[in-house]
Symmetry: C2
Subunit: 203 residues, 2 copies
């Protein structure tokens, strides 16, 4: 198999790299240079009709897209260490928090990136007022997350999981585009330092 | 346990209702009237700090939010019939398609709903030009889905799964707000007729 990927700082490719590093799984990487639009080239669109990375190509040519779906595939084949939870409740809570990371925190960050950031201006029709409105929404979502983290070492309880991976890549991408963690988010900052100190964060 | 829910046509509460109907699981429902803003009332916000339905409250007071996370909880406890896939590959493909349903198809429908629909005008600051731009994006995503459905009875291969539930609730919500299936999407229309004919679709 091979993993079509991009290097930092795109959040979705990085989620899979951190996941694989945590699991100790090595997969051959094929770099798709998003700045050169290689993900929209016909030969890649034949593999993933959405033209998105990451994408995992199995030996028989089957392609799995979507970062969390790729991680779930590896999790089913390599259950230890469990990063999607062990019990029904843990699995549900981790899934809940992956989704909250994506919709609540990444939602406004992604909207700002697409509609208010100069680096995407040539790629789509930007609605700048809408994009800018997401600056406040992103800060609000990080304040909410900060409150939710009170008393927790990790996003779900006291074990590192894919929910932490999702949130780390999201928050770091926010910082990269100018939507950093607000100064008064002490819980979020402490969590960020904790997960960033893991070797996998360099992936 | 009890499931905080809303009746038609909100897509996320309906996803859980259809899932439970397909599994033959009965859970006491507590109706949260979104038009009366009951999901933003303090007593509900204490259960889900995001003020969103559906939410599943377990007997010990633990709350699981997010429709797919709730379904995964039930799936872990009641594996048959499998609606999230059996093999590692099926599980990954179904997860991939749930996410594509949410991001690619629901994304523009949700943006249109929030920013261009009169029924949400009082609930947030709308960016109408941005919202309207999603009309075309929604049609484009349905054309893409139509091509992907060629030769398939269901979203993933030939078995009904949570990916079908997600897509059905998404497409029906699109129709409800004026973003119906384009006339030339024959595969999508045939799929829609197929899944709508299942008794669970009435849930």
């Amino acid at each position: 198999m091979k993993l079509y990927n991009e290097n930092m700082p795109a959040p979705n490719p990085r989620r899979v790299r951190i996941y694989l590093a945590e699991k100790g799984i090595e997969v051959p990487l094929v770099r798709i240079d998003m700045m050169k639009r290689e993900h929209k080239a016909p030969e890649f669109m034949d593999k993933n009709s959405l033209g998105q990375v990451p994408a995992l190509e199995l030996d028989d040519g089957t392609v799995i897209a979507e970062s969390v779906a790729i991680c779930r595939y590896f999790e089913a084949l390599n259950p230890e260490p469990a990063l999607f939870g062990r019990t029904a409740l843990e699995q549900a809570q981790i899934d809940m928090w992956i989704r909250r990371g994506e919709f609540i925190v990444m939602g406004p960050i992604g909207n700002f990136w697409r509609h208010a950031h100069p680096r995407t201006a040539k790629l789509l029709k930007q609605f700048n007022d809408f994009g800018e409105s997401n600056r406040e929404a992103a800060a609000r979502s990080m304040h909410w997350l900060d409150r939710e983290l009170e008393g927790h070492d990790f996003i779900v309880g006291n074990d590192f999981s894919v929910a932490d991976i999702t949130m780390l890549c999201t928050v770091d991408f926010g910082s990269f585009i100018g939507l950093g963690i607000p100064d008064d988010c002490a819980n979020l900052k402490a969590w960020h330092a904790r997960v960033s100190a893991r070797p996998s964060a360099a992936a």
